[in-house]
Symmetry: C2
């Protein structure tokens, strides 16, 4: 793993990025890196990959232009190569976004490792596999990390960064810093959890939604409406933990847990509830206090309200006129 002790390029100095796999996610990464002013090489084995990729970039470009491109950014700085080797030959960072199949990821990461210059970090967009399971065939697994984005990567800021058992911690730090420089919001995890954080959360919601559809309890349209007109408006500006803290009124999360803790036992979802023991209670209450970072409940309520109003206004959904 010594190649990373002397990385060839600082995160701030990266100019050339390779994207391997150019479907919805890989193509979204291409659009993001182009908009951020990088030279991007891309490779995808599908016969119509280049046409689809350029369509995706062209469709995203007006929005990215509108948002503000980095100096010198241009869709013309994309080169689609005929081989994987050409794509990564001069790359200073590699983002792999192949289909979600473990064997395929294993082989591809080994190939990428063999073809990519020493000292260059290779990140996988995998939405759930631990890197430990994917880096098994690589000769220099130390530079392989997970950099998990959300669709579309050119608009949703989050990237979850985590290494595998054989990843050099320096590669994790380098990738986290690189993504930040490239305009992303980074969560660096210190351990591998399948699905990382956000996917576990949205997967729980998604499974419950599928149960409801399967049982005829709600339609697809009702499920979507229940989120976009309900909790989804809050989650754009405040996460589920602080949101629930505000349901506790002036007593915050502690009061909320005292009040609604027993309903944790109610079978409102098919997900088994954890035991709300003292340790969990304390962790949640302390975590909310830490996240509030000195803001009072009143401050948080005011902040949430302004945020929801901004979101409602921005998306043309101010409450309809009417009433008495």
């Amino acid at each position: 793993m010594t190649e990373l002790s002397t990385p060839t390029t600082a995160p701030e100095d990266v100019r050339r990025v390779a994207c391997v796999g150019a479907g919805v996610i890989g193509g979204g990464w291409v659009a993001h890196f182009l908009a951020r002013g990088y030279d991007v090489t891309a490779w995808d084995p599908a016969p119509d990959a280049e046409a689809r990729l350029r369509r995706l970039v062209d469709a995203a470009w007006p929005a990215l232009e509108h948002l503000g491109l980095a100096a010198g950014a241009s869709a013309d700085r994309l080169t689609v190569t005929a081989t994987l080797e050409e794509a990564v030959a001069e790359a200073q960072f590699v983002q792999e976004s192949a289909p979600e199949k473990l064997d395929l990821k294993r082989e591809l990461l080994a190939k990428l490792d063999a073809a990519t210059p020493a000292g260059v970090v290779v990140a996988s967009s995998t939405s759930g596999y631990p890197m430990t399971d994917m880096q098994t065939e690589a000769v220099t697994p130390g530079r392989l990390v997970v950099g998990h984005p959300f669709n579309p990567p050119y608009l949703i800021p989050l990237v979850e960064v985590v290494g595998g058992g054989r990843t050099d911690p320096e590669a994790v730090r380098w990738a986290a810093r690189f993504y930040e420089v490239a305009g992303k919001s980074v969560i660096t995890m210190d351990r591998e959890v399948p699905g990382f954080i956000a996917n576990r959360l949205q997967e729980a919601l998604w499974r419950e939604a599928l149960h409801m559809v399967a049982n005829g309890e709600a339609t697809v349209r009702e499920i979507d409406l229940s989120i976009t007109e309900g909790p989804g408006l809050r989650w754009a500006i405040m996460g589920p933990m602080l949101t629930f803290a505000l349901a506790g009124g002036e007593g915050g999360m502690a009061h909320m847990l005292d009040h609604f803790g027993p309903s944790l036992k109610s079978p409102w979802t098919r997900l088994e509830a954890p035991e709300l023991d003292r340790a969990l209670y304390d962790a949640v209450v302390a975590g909310c206090a830490e996240a509030a970072d000195g803001r009072s409940i009143a401050d948080l309520v005011a902040e949430r309200d302004q945020g929801v109003i901004d979101v409602l206004r921005a998306t043309g959904r101010l409450p309809r006129a009417g009433g008495a």
Copy 2:
């Protein structure tokens, strides 16, 4: 149940609303109805209830003013009464928002039923109890419905409306129409499911979050960040089903299920997955097609992107400058 066959007031003609229980949710309802131009009476047994309620309304009012009040709306049109009976004596609609305890709800709804003029619908803000279990003690249970809001009711549009086994279907229709007139987004459910729709979904997410905190896999702050910087930005403008359809690229939900269906089996959450059989597959694909309502995947992508940009811009979270 004959009293509802001849309701005394049409939903459009309601002028006087009673809110019984004036904590976070009941107080939020008070603020909403006041802003919509109704006369509001409120009652809550807590000794400091009036002071807390007026604080809540005062805190919300500038935002509501800014959003646009209904003609004649005024915080002065709130009357806090000394008894439950006075609160509902002249009400044309009653919203109950007492603490979430089944026995308490049962007794309170029976009292409200006894004190409220005939032909007036009484709705409960319960976040999960089926009305069938709450209406057992009422003399005229036909007018009792669930009208479940989201916090804060003066900003989040969603109300889930559903009756119990002894509820007059006309009361459900009346309540749904009344909430619409009062500026809410309504989902009317045709059956009782504990937790209704949105709470089952957010409860699934919340339980998974608690498991992660309990296991030390993620902090409260990371959980919140993973939503607000990730899926939460999408959910403000597009629900989880259509959002996942877009992960299927030009193939939409069908391709998404073909591609990610097997990962339904991955233990990414502690929630047991439903069997993705043909019937569920078809229901989800058809439901997404219906929800898309003629919009192509490209249309939906453009709409989502514009929505996310609007949300990012409105909440001051445009991607940070930087990059090459």
